[in-house]
Amino acid sequence: MSLAFDLALCALILGTAGLAVAGGNLFGSVVFYIVYGVLIALAWVSLGAADVALAEAAIGAGVTGVLLIGAWQGMKDAGGLEAEITKSLPVRVLAGLGAAALGALVGFAILSLPGHDGLTGPVAENQPALDLGNPVTAVLLSFRAYDTLLETLVLTAALAAVWSLTPARFWGGIPGPKHITRPDGVMASFGRLLPPLGLLVAIYLVWAGADQPGGAFQAGTVLAAVWILIVLAGLRDEPRLSSLVLRLIVIAGPLVFLGAGLAGALAGLALGYPEGHARTLILIIEYALTLSIAATLALLIAGPARRAP
């Protein structure tokens, strides 16, 4: 029965992906991409990877929808929707063949992987030293912590890249338009009722991430979505991008991460955790990362400044 479900899900995923690329209507393609995100989250659930499913549900089904529809709105305002961009038929056939060949190559590579347990054994052996129940968190924040540190810095660099698109006269200003809402309407009520629940879910995700699926990235995404909701519902305006507090929050996570590594260096193990303090340090890093990821993602979606400071 699980096999039948998996096969149906695979067929749906392929079909949705094809429809997203093939549709003539741009908004329809955006909708299909959001549907694709939900289906991929279900695929991760079926594979038993709850941490990735949480991240995909938060990003692919929630935040990406807001981003893409905002981009669609920007294109409409700039008059880009009327422009017909059709490539000649040979180019399109060539592109289709190239994509199909790449897909077949990736599929073949995955199907020919030798069947073994991977790293489950070594991770399980070394996990008790960290006193963490969740093997994914152990890998992300200890065995491969260097990669995670660099990934958080990549996020910050992406934010700097988005900010670099700001016109000079708006530098340091406020992103996005000023949202107006009817104060007693449905949208404002939505913006008041959902954020407390979202905050609770986010704190639960990062707290539970130590011993069961969850973690900083998932919690940060939920927090970013909550902030986006508050702004869209017109209850708060976006902060000025030149604000020092904002920039400190964005950089706090990577700084705490680096600080933990330096603390390890002082204890004699460069970029390592001092003996016995691993779990405490990992938890501190996770909470700081949650704040930073939330701020960075929310600012990435808000975009470059559009109003003068």
Partner: protein
């Protein structure tokens, strides 16, 4: 046996939400397309709950929780696009012109 029944229900819900894709493809207006995305989101919550029950794994229930929380965000963004400059409230004009 009960776990199989839950997976069968998940399969049925999956096929039923697949039907909604037809509306996303055809739907004459943007609202129709957005509604089919909403339906698939809420179907996804149901499927996640069913799989969580079939495998008795509470972690998958957390996935359903996050999906339920963020389900309406895309609909909210869509609703903003019919207002001027993407910044208004569809109900706001009613307050000004009763």
């Amino acid at each position: 046996m009960m776990a199989d029944l839950f997976m069968l229900a998940a399969l049925c819900v999956l096929i039923s939400v697949a039907g909604a894709l037809i509306r996303a493809w055809r739907g004459p207006g943007r609202a129709d397309r957005m509604m089919s995305a909403q339906l698939i989101g809420s179907g996804g919550v149901g499927i996640a709950v069913l799989i969580a029950a079939a495998r008795s794994e509470p972690a998958i229930l957390d996935v359903a929780l996050v999906l339920a929380l963020l389900a309406a965000f895309a609909a909210l963004a869509f609703v903003k696009t019919v207002t001027p400059e993407g910044a208004g409230d569809p109900e706001a004009d009613e307050a000004e012109n009763p």
